[in-house]
Symmetry: C2
Subunit: 681 residues, 2 copies
């Protein structure tokens, strides 16, 4: 929609076309519904310009519009500000949802040393919650320092330099992709726990959900706060209900420990438990920490005073996450729930059944779990494209990631995330347990880079109170660095090696992309316009036959420069003589015709040899090859014509400095001659 109005009703586009429209004259567009004049030499495309006129492209456009909605203009971008209550819903679903799989992963690691070892889940949970408190405190510092949003990539680039920033960026990218894969896998696991019949369809269902989320994000989720609030708070309600009722039953002594499989192992001594296993259980449980950084990334989305509201929300989130995680772990222990390694039961499902029985409450828990996990996957679809935008703006990613789609979303980033996470989900068979080992490395590496960057920042700036802040971030950085190391080592063989391998490759890729862009723009930099008078022309027109297509191309070339040679390539000397005679009959002389006999029946090679010969004779000229291009009405008709023009074009693409002029001929069925290139069709 136009923002400026202009009083002159119509303008003459001829002025522009002549190449010499004086600055005080206006470019007039008469009755054109697609373009609107804004000023001299300045037009604006209207929404009508977006609608293609062709049959197929119109159909595609309509499908796209139906799926994604009407295109939005750039100025229609909106920035919703979030209340604390809404912000908690929007920014915490990733973190909070991790209680659906983190306790289970921790227990599975311990189970390797027998069911008795499951007791150790309590102290390990304590350690994880302590870690959570440290990280939350640490991020509180970042929130104040970066009120415009302090993602690890930006903070690390700012304070630690390019390579550290890119390392954080790579870690985040891996983390976002895994958030989608793990959340969807865990969501499907919860779904299967409720409806076991769906087990065979885990992967297709998961991919289907990713496709839905991708589509929703391409449409652009406008009412973000409200959409998110419902399932997040429903999940919180369910969890608090479950934990509260579970504790009530503990207090009233009505707990009936579940037997499922645990009975046989209950008497085992804690014999096989090693430090390695404890560390692995800790590393697995750390999956609960993923998503904690979301609030510090999203500070600008809060209502004023942003940093203070964000800090409060972070504290709420840490409190809720910590207490839910501890509460669930305690109850799982108290109710004797053992992970069902073989079957399709999650521990949360088993616990809910033990506490509530298989009634409405049980299904509410599972349904809210599925929903919040899908929501958690969704958060990556706003975080990843935004990071992609930042990195593309800094030229570390292809600039396609900067492009905003019809609905103002960063479409390429959204589609890339959807595709990569689907591939990952398929490759790992939709198994949460198989994906988890890859998950924590990236997340904790990003934590570490971010906190370490804050330490450097405090040291350099020495704002009031910098010592205290630096101490907090220092503790945070040291702790998360240690955890990163632990996670990478104890889960190396289970899959963390993939991340350890991919991380440096990604960083090198980013640097390579940056180098290419920098080199290119330096090379293309130019101070002075080129003088057209200095360009001299030679045009070569390959013609297969003396038909209308060829004659039209020849006339076109000759209308641009007198230096035109028609080149006809033929197989034998009889055919050559015949062609020359036909030319003679048409033009009265053989001027400007070169016939090349090609005893080996090739077309492209002799033409290239001739162009080389012409070029070496007069290297100052700019050579243009004028290609008659035959456009059939139907795609299959192209099969009936040698794609010679295409092959010549392909060969010329790699011949520096050769201009290619395509003169199209559209098959129409009519026979009326026309002076310029044929317009029929």
């Amino acid at each position: 929609m136009p923002r400026r109005e202009d009083s002159t009703p119509e303008l003459d586009i001829r002025e522009v076309k002549r190449g010499r429209h004086p600055g005080d004259k206006y470019v007039r567009v008469r009755h054109n519904p697609k373009l609107q004049r804004m000023g001299p030499g300045l037009l604006t495309a209207t929404p009508r310009a977006e609608e293609p006129s062709g049959g197929i492209s119109k159909a595609i456009y309509r499908c796209k519009k139906a799926l994604l909605g009407t295109p939005l203009a750039t100025y229609q971008a909106q920035h919703e500000r979030l209340t604390k209550v809404k912000a908690l819903a929007v920014l915490s679903s990733d973190a909070l949802s991790s209680v659906a799989y983190a306790p289970e992963e921790m227990l599975r690691a311990l189970l390797l040393a027998g069911t008795a070892a499951l007791y150790f889940s309590l102290p390990i949970s304590g350690a994880i919650v302590l870690l959570l408190v440290i990280v939350a405190f640490s991020y509180s510092q970042t929130i104040k320092a970066y009120p415009k949003g302090g993602g690890s990539y930006i903070v690390a680039s700012d304070n630690l330099g390019t390579v550290a920033g890119l390392t954080a960026g790579a870690a985040l990218i891996i983390g976002y992709i895994l958030t989608v894969a793990v959340s969807i896998a865990a969501g499907m696991a919860a779904l299967v726990a409720a409806i076991p019949a769906l087990e065979a369809f885990t992967v297709p269902l998961g991919v289907g959900f990713i496709a839905l989320i991708t589509l929703a994000n391409l449409r652009g989720i406008r009412e973000a706060g409200s959409i998110f609030a419902v399932p997040t708070y429903a999940f919180l309600l369910c969890m608090f209900g479950l934990i509260g009722y579970g504790l009530y039953r503990v207090a009233t002594g009505t707990v009936v420990p579940v037997s499922e499989g645990s009975g046989a192992l209950a008497g085992d001594a804690v014999s096989g438990l090693s430090l390695f296993l404890v560390l692995r259980a800790f590393a697995s449980g750390c999956a609960a920490m993923t998503g904690v950084e979301a609030i510090s990334d999203g500070v600008p989305a809060f209502q004023a005073p942003e940093w203070r509201n964000a800090r409060t929300t972070l504290a709420w989130m840490a409190g809720i996450l910590g207490s839910t995680f501890l509460g669930l772990t305690y109850l799982i222990h108290r109710y004797g729930v053992v992970p069902d390694v073989e079957g399709h039961q999650t521990v949360v499902s088993a616990l809910a059944r033990a506490v509530l029985g298989q009634g409405v409450g049980y299904y509410a828990i599972l349904a809210s779990t599925v929903m919040i996990l899908i929501l958690a996957a969704n958060t990556s679809f706003s975080d990843f494209p935004r990071l992609g935008y930042f990195m593309a703006r800094d030229r570390f990613l292809p600039h396609q990631f900067e492009y905003r789609g019809d609905r103002l979303a960063y479409s390429n980033g959204i589609v890339a995330l959807g595709v990569i996470s689907s591939v990952l989900l398929i490759a790992f068979g939709g198994d949460t347990h198989a994906l988890i080992p890859l998950y924590a490395v990236g997340v904790f590496l990003a934590f570490t880079m971010s906190q370490a960057a804050m330490v450097v920042r405090w040291w350099r700036r020495r704002d009031p109170g910098w010592r205290w802040s630096m101490a907090i971030n220092g503790v945070g950085a040291a702790t998360t660095a240690l955890v990163t190391l632990i996670v990478a080592v104890v889960r190396f063989r289970e899959g963390a090696w993939i991340v350890v391998l991919v991380l440096p490759v990604l960083v090198l890729l980013f640097l390579g992309i940056k180098r290419h862009y920098t080199g290119t723009s330096r090379e293309l930099l130019t101070e002075t316009p080129i003088d057209p008078e200095r360009i001299t022309h030679t045009m070569i027109v390959p013609i297969a036959d003396l038909n209308r297509v060829a004659l039209q191309s020849l006339a076109y070339a000759r209308s641009l420069t007198p230096n035109v040679t028609a080149v006809h390539i033929t197989q034998g000397d009889e055919a050559a003589e015949d062609f020359r005679n036909r030319w003679l009959a048409k033009y009265g002389n053989l001027d400007g015709l070169v016939v090349i006999e090609s005893p080996y029946r090739s077309l492209v090679s002799p033409l290239l040899a001739y162009i080389d010969a012409v070029d070496s004779t007069d290297p100052g000229d700019t050579i243009a090859v004028v290609l008659p291009e035959f456009v059939a009405r139907h795609w299959w008709e192209h099969l009936l014509h040698n794609q010679t023009a295409l092959r010549i074009k392909g060969a010329l693409l790699f011949r520096p400095g050769t201009v290619v002029i395509n003169v199209p001929y559209h098959l129409s069925g009519k026979r009326e001659p026309s002076p310029g290139p044929e317009r029929g069709g």
Copy 2:
């Protein structure tokens, strides 16, 4: 290599380039190893012109040369004339090899009515040999009437009109494809009978052999006669040896009937035998007749007097085929060999073992059978591309089939046959028995069309002795028509329906292709050259940035016409203002610049809308869009650039009458300015 020499040592290509080289001046090419001057405006490409200079294309060229041999010039085409002995080998392998599978197919059909019904193989064989004699006599007439080669397509087109000719052509095409598939499948069956361990690899081996034959034919088989003579005569020797020794054992009463599976069924009455089964056995046995037409197609390859030698060879061939077929059928009956429906034994293999024991003779029989079957497949590789050439010349097939490859073979036909027959072999699991029902319909339909055409021909021309010739061809046509009908009906459900369905589709396709070509060439026909003076130009240069690529394209356009408009598409009004200021700084005014704001961030649609606006303002002008084209050094670098130029080109392809001028910019790494399009790289 040039055939004509010229005394002028060097020529000036400038004369041609200027577009006005007088007729009495020569086009001079100085020290150019790739082109040789033959006369005024006449060059010949040397073998050096074929060698590409680029890295990858050079490697591809060398690979191709190693696989297919050095390219041959058109005048190097040779036409070997065959003696009768060689001709029998070259032209009969297809027909003779069919004894390897035809008796078996006949017996399998009878076996459905019990082993006792196998006795009926003797009278049915008699009927088939009678049919053979009739067809051979009938073709003798064709040989004399068409000494330049009377394939069914040509004979039927000549005398019965287009649709009949195309029906024959379609039948032949189906026949050739099935000859390859059936012969290779039968060859693999013989191979497996000798070496049962290969059974699991039937299909890959068969496809491998087809690939080898394709390659050999693309190379061009020069010493055809000699190559063919060895296996054909080896096969004949083996067959006559087998039959001779078998009959000797019959005469001396030392036959020991084989028991394999036949014992259990030996006492069965011929209860289930119906006319339908007998006809089906007859139809199956008719597979023996395939390839009989080869000699009448190949008359010109004989030494003079061609028609007489061809007739003699046809008589030999029919005699050998008939006696081998009868002999084998008799011995198979006499030795009590029963088709091994489940296992991997062919009846020829079983018979050879029964007669000769499993010694050297047995393996010689199987080896020569495999060889002649592969040879039989090979004959289709010379027949199919030749038919493709004839039909493409008549414009019923895409003219790509007219093209002769580096080695003068009709490469596209050869490759098409290789691909289609491989697909067929894979689809039918390499099973001869499954392919046979499709085979005979096409073959006998082609026979019928050809003989019926001869009848019409005799009737019209009334040459001396026409009554007798017409009677012979009449009997031939009637008989083969009846057989075609029988084959199509009794084997309809087993697969013949596919052929019955495909035949009319092919004929319609041929007619459609012809209509397209005729319509196109009529539309392109033109009497008078177009006057270049009547063409007026408007050029539009879309530019993304004021960098060297854009400035170069602008200068190029301006050197061709003053009517040049630079179009810059931008997202917002700030960016638009910024761009106009930068333009102003560079050019001193805003002449010839149009900035279009695109609120929906699309590039192509506003550009197209602008082109439409320009076009409607001045419909007489020819619009050219000058596209700066960025050529990266490596393919992956293209991923880092928006393929905007490509998208614009794609959109313009469907806009009739719009010329596209690609001004390439090759990324080089150097920074030196150049007047014309950049030549670095």
